[in-house]
């Protein structure tokens, strides 16, 4: 696994293997890729984002995170494939090259490392963080109900035993706080994209409110263009819309926070499938899923590059 050329992108991997592979990617592309330690998880595991940069100081940047819900394994696997794609296509793909000559990309492959490890060692169906909750025997907070955006509102549970438990307070989860700190301290993120599974959706804010965000028409148009690109590969169908209108009201979500923080181009993907395997998507669908998702991601990133604000 130490050799990035022999790494199997069509398989699911443990956290240790992913972290080792990240080191090989950095070693193979030292002038483009670096590893940023954004802090530690509740169980004291390091949280790494890959930074793709050709230089400059705090250039406009794009944030992509995966695996905030640990059982959505195709999310982390897609992020691994995507990291490799960015690294290997720089200098070959003119559009990506121009993007990286102007902007940085931060890609966090495993945003909930404790949960991900637990899906491998304790319970494959685990979704939340692994934090202990005072006064409850149940563990973990839904890290995508824990952001300071309509925190504690509809679509989140106050029951610590629920899979949608919002946590004792906004940003109570160190995994969430670490991302918030990085985004705030950087101060120049222009897009924030979160990768989930499943249902084949591309969504934009809000989740905590069913009112349209001021940029809804533009975000909808960007989303539809991205989905058109995605579908061009295998014909996979995606729906586009605001979280509230396309699925359900869900408060405390990451892209609502990022949008309210001023990052206009905030999106969330729900990858394959639509209801054959759900969270248990077979590994032979990782590469097709990642390949089609890349077309959408690239489409969004190109739009962000060409529409500075």
């Amino acid at each position: 696994e130490r050799n990035s050329k022999s790494f199997n992108f069509g398989a699911y991997h443990t956290l240790e293997t992913i972290y080792n592979w990240m080191d090989t990617l950095v070693a193979d592309h030292p002038s483009l890729v670096s590893k940023v330690n954004i802090g530690s998880s509740y169980e004291n595991r390091p949280m790494y984002a890959l930074k793709f940069s050709t230089g400059g100081d705090k250039r406009p940047a794009i944030w992509i995170d995966a695996g905030i819900h640990s059982r959505e394994w195709v999310s982390q696997a897609t992020a691994v494939w995507t990291a490799n794609k960015i690294a290997t296509d720089y200098g070959r793909d003119a559009s990506l090259t121009s993007l990286l000559n102007n902007m940085d990309i931060y890609l966090m492959i495993v945003t909930n490392p404790d949960g991900y490890v637990f899906t491998h060692t304790g319970n494959r169906m685990w979704r939340k963080t692994r934090s202990r909750i005072s006064g409850s025997s149940c563990r973990g907070v839904d890290p995508n109900r824990n952001w300071d955006a309509g925190f504690g509102g509809p679509g989140a549970s106050k029951n610590p035993c629920s899979d949608s438990y919002h946590g004792p307070s906004a940003h109570s989860e160190v995994e969430v706080q670490n991302v918030v700190d990085l985004i705030k301290s950087h101060g120049n993120f222009k897009a924030f994209i979160s990768i989930h599974a499943y249902s084949q959706l591309l969504m934009y804010p809000y989740g905590y409110s069913c009112n349209d965000v001021p940029d809804a028409p533009e975000l909808d148009s960007v989303g539809r263009s991205a989905v058109k690109a995605l579908s061009s590969l295998y014909g996979t169908r995606y729906q586009v819309g605001s979280i509230c209108k396309i699925i359900y009201q869900a408060s405390g979500g990451s892209i609502d926070w990022s949008y309210n923080h001023g990052i206009k181009y905030s999106f969330a993907f729900e990858l394959r499938d639509t209801g054959r395997y759900g969270f248990l998507l077979p590994a032979n669908q990782i590469i097709p899923t990642a390949s089609e998702t890349w077309l959408a991601l690239k489409n969004i990133m190109e739009y962000v590059r060409d529409h500075p604000y």
Binding site: Y12, G278, L280, A283
Partner: protein, 94 residues
């Protein structure tokens, strides 16, 4: 590792707001230990539930007695997990 032998994932298609309400009440039944993969939010959207083997009969009877259509999306969760695990082990060996 927690085992999921005999657990099934049911895909439920609600036909009315009344049926939606019944599924929402099912969500409150903590004894059944249901794992909602897709929650009952709208009659336009499917609901996916992982049902532990011990609760299968109760849930299916509940659905059938309320005329709520469902299909079995995953017949045995553990079988799928075993396949996933053997694929991972084969990859590691390779």
């Amino acid at each position: 590792q927690t085992l999921f032998i005999g657990d099934q994932v049911l895909r439920i298609t609600v036909k009315s707001e009344e049926q939606l309400g019944l599924l929402q009440s099912l969500e409150e039944e903590q004894d059944l230990e249901l794992d909602f993969w897709l929650h009952p939010i709208s009659s336009d959207l499917p609901v996916d539930i992982r049902v532990p083997f011990a609760s299968l009969q109760t849930v299916k009877v509940f659905l059938e007695s309320n005329d709520i259509p469902y299909s079995v999306m995953i017949k045995d969760v553990q079988e799928v997990l075993d396949k996933e695990q053997s694929d991972m082990e084969a990859n590691t060996m390779r």
